[in-house]
Amino acid sequence: MDYVKLINCMRCGMCLPHCPTYKETFLETASPRGRVALVRKLQEGELVESEKFLEYVSLCLDCQACASACPCGVNAGELVAEFRCESKKEKGLSLMEDLVLRKLVPHPDRLEAATAPLRLYQKTGLQQVVRSLGLLKLFPEALGRMEGLLPKLPDAPLRQTISEVTPAVGEEKGTAGFFLGCVMSLIFSEASLATVQLLSTLGYRVVTPKAQKCCGAPNMLGHDLDGLKEAAAFNTDLFDSFDLDFVVTDCGGCGAELKKYGQHLDGERKAEEFSASVRDISEVLFAESEALARKLKPLPLRVTYHDPCHIAHCQGIRSQPRALIKLIPGIDFRELPEADACCGSAGTYNIEKPEMSDRVLSRKVQNVLKTGAEYLVTSNPGCLLQLKKALAEAEPKVRVIHLTELLQMSLEA
């Protein structure tokens, strides 16, 4: 790890009030400043990689709120993630991590095949039976949590059912490449359909290459840098083979990763160009505000917006989603307190660190309830999963939807 990055932290503490785990604990060891200090002291030989040490650093959500807050350009979350990666590389992955992060998630075909039984499980009503009998209590805790998070799956993953080319409605303005993302395709296919429909309504031909692979973020988590590079090179080449004006995604996590391909492939020109062409759907729609506004019909709803970390902190996109929501006539937009604080989902964090995840989540839920909103809008599948479940339990009247679904509702209203 780059030592200079560590000593750049001047310990001013500007990041402290932005860190979700610090806000819950008020402990220096659970703060960005503390985490940088821990990793630094490890490098300086003052601390060893004790169990406690690993426990402290693994409490970081990698939400990057600290990076947005740090005036010195230190990114505590990323430094911690880098450390965890290096440590994993030395120690090797657990069997579970190896299976999930390397063998399963990065391969859409395998992932889709693996989730097929789940579809069946839900479809046949088995889920209801299992839930009502409390059989989940028999599962190991992590599995139980995973099961509980799952909303109803679509009949088939979108990647399999969507046509590779969706024509533009009316005069064609350009061609968008659509990067699906595994969870969006598997679980939130309706939101992604809304994305495609919005683009085509605005005059874009949408190309969704069926061969696309996972963005590579899970490889990064599993410290499979080769796998990551492979995914980056493959997707770059694939999208490059179509004649696209830009590449769009409605998954915050994928967007953040795709925008780093240039970096992952050491500044290779093609990859740099690919990264530069990637847009979050909110960026595209915001640029089309005028055209979009003409098509939107009134929706008299109270709406609030949760900033996904991968959108706000990693991509710096904050104003566009809000502006788009406010574009809808009749919307009563209410700003969410601490809107850009992590919801606690954070990749697999909610399964690995359930206690802290729940604390962070419950703060988010309380804040949502304070707004009195009927709809909570967000734009990342991890947040959608986490927030849908939490709000279904806390206040079923509040519906959680993707930004494109809300806009779609207004189109159709």
Partner: protein
């Protein structure tokens, strides 16, 4: 520290609030002061004044040293325990106890974050002016102990001007109550004021009562560019001499401007020597008049650009830019040594020039910003702790800067406290008798010298 003693401490504050693992100790062995760090013997997170009192009584008996700590944002090493003693962390005492709208006071526990108090009182149309750059992180206890100032210090004064009452646990665990809600109180020595800026050496605050004032009705924020540094400095002196007292009168030099702009992107100019950030507030008519007067003075001193913030959002953006100045400077080089030289306001121009000359003489990169309106400048040396030669030059340069400061009738710290960082300059400033009185007071309140030892003198 002995295991049995730590056990006794844990008996008071609870196991979960007693930290002794090496990782925690490492994380409570620093504050925002560059270069300094150490490792305490134990960190305690008490939950009440009563617990603090019991901890102090126990430590007093055993002769164990105690260092109070708020958020660890001070810049003079004040919250670091250098002798493996106990760090007493106040973050759990974080309740706002009362906002008394009849008496215009607020009473808070010591660990309340400064900006949280701002939010609460401003929601009621009231105002607590002290606003250190660190206000989103620092605690009220830390502010009182350092007598912190802020961007509004020029017109509204510093923390000291607002502290009305304190509850303090003394070194032996006894509780001392000083002041209160009465506006006039001349009974005996002014212990309140003595305790403010005691840097954790005389007692541990548990409760603080501060004065509130009505929130000013109108406000205007201005940003002024100066191609020449001297002109900016002279403008500061001349605004004061014209008897206009802005709420804020902040100065940023070229090095600082560039760093802030790199981070905050607020549209600061990159081709000028200095900018002033000026804010006037109060009655709308007065605000207009002051702003016009200031504009005239700036133009007379050849400012190249004069901007008035269009609305509160833009004003906030500009003020935020100033607030992040220190941290933004730290982007340039790994180690940032910030100083706190304060001179009479008429000496701003010669002081700024002296700082620049000294930087050149020692071949150092020094950015200067600060509360120019109250003479409080922060020359900030951007360096690398891995380069001992450069660090040595930096300390030499600051030695000379402080000597000049004292010669101009200034002081070695305007708001950051002496701590350990500026101990060596204190005797020159206060003299033998000054030191004797301070030591006498310390001896009377803390005869065993267990409270934050090694700080100030």
């Amino acid at each position: 520290m002995e295991k049995s003693f730590i056990k006794a401490l844990a008996g008071i504050v609870g196991e979960a609030n007693t930290l002794t693992d090496p990782e925690s100790l490492a994380c409570y062995g620093y504050d925002s002061t560059p270069e300094l760090q150490s490792r305490p013997g134990a960190v305690l997170l008490p939950g009440s004044a009563e617990e603090i009192s019991q901890v102090m009584a126990l430590c007093h008996e055993a002769g164990v040293r105690v260092t109070p700590r708020g958020s660890g944002t001070n810049l003079s090493g004040g919250s670091i325990s250098f002798d493996a003693g106990v760090v007493l962390q106040t973050s759990r005492l974080n309740r706002i106890l009362e906002i008394d709208e009849e008496n215009l006071t607020a009473t808070v526990e010591t660990g309340v974050i400064t900006s949280a108090l701002h939010r609460e009182v401003e929601a009621k149309g009231l105002f607590y002016p002290p606003d250190p750059g660190s206000m989103n992180i620092s605690t009220m206890g830390g502010n009182v102990a350092e007598n912190s100032g802020g961007l509004r210090g020029l017109k509204y004064g510093v923390t000291d001007d607002y502290v009305m009452g304190l509850k303090t646990v003394l070194a032996d665990g006894d509780l001392l109550k000083t002041g209160g809600k009465v506006v006039k109180d001349v009974a005996g020595y002014n212990l309140n004021q003595l305790l403010v800026s005691s840097e954790g050496t005389l007692g541990v605050f548990t409760e603080i009562t501060v004065k509130l004032i009505p929130k000013p009705v109108a406000k205007k924020t201005m940003l002024v560019h100066f191609p020449q540094l001297e002109q900016a400095a002279l403008t500061v002196s001349h605004i004061i001499a014209a008897r206009i007292i802005p709420a804020t009168l902040e100065f940023l030099d070229r090095v600082t401007i560039k760093c802030v702009e790199d981070y905050a992107h607020v549209g600061l100019p990159l081709d000028v020597d200095a900018v002033l950030l000026i804010e006037v507030d109060g009655h709308p008519a007065q605000v207009e008049e002051d702003a016009a007067g200031i504009r005239q003075i700036c133009e007379r001193h050849h400012c190249s650009f004069f901007q008035t913030a269009a609305g509160p959002e833009e004003a906030l953006k500009l003020a935020t830019a100033r607030r992040v100045a220190l941290s933004a400077l730290a982007r340039m080089r790994p180690t940032t040594i910030l100083e706190d030289a304060t001179v009479p306001r008429s000496c701003i121009a010669p002081m700024v020039k002296l700082i620049q000359d000294t930087a050149r003489k020692y071949d150092l990169l020094i950015g200067t910003f600060g509360h120019a309106g109250d003479g409080n400048l922060h020359p900030t040396c951007l360096t690398d702790e891995r380069n001992p030669d450069e660090i040595a030059r930096a300390h030499k340069a600051f030695g000379e800067i402080f000597e000049a400061t004292i010669a101009m009738g200034g002081t070695i710290t305007g708001e950051h406290g002496v701590g350990v960082a500026k101990k060596k300059y204190l005797p020159k400033l206060v003299g033998e008798s000054g030191l004797r009185v301070m030591r006498g007071i310390k001896g009377a309140l803390d005869p065993k010298g267990i409270l934050n030892p090694g700080k100030i003198f």
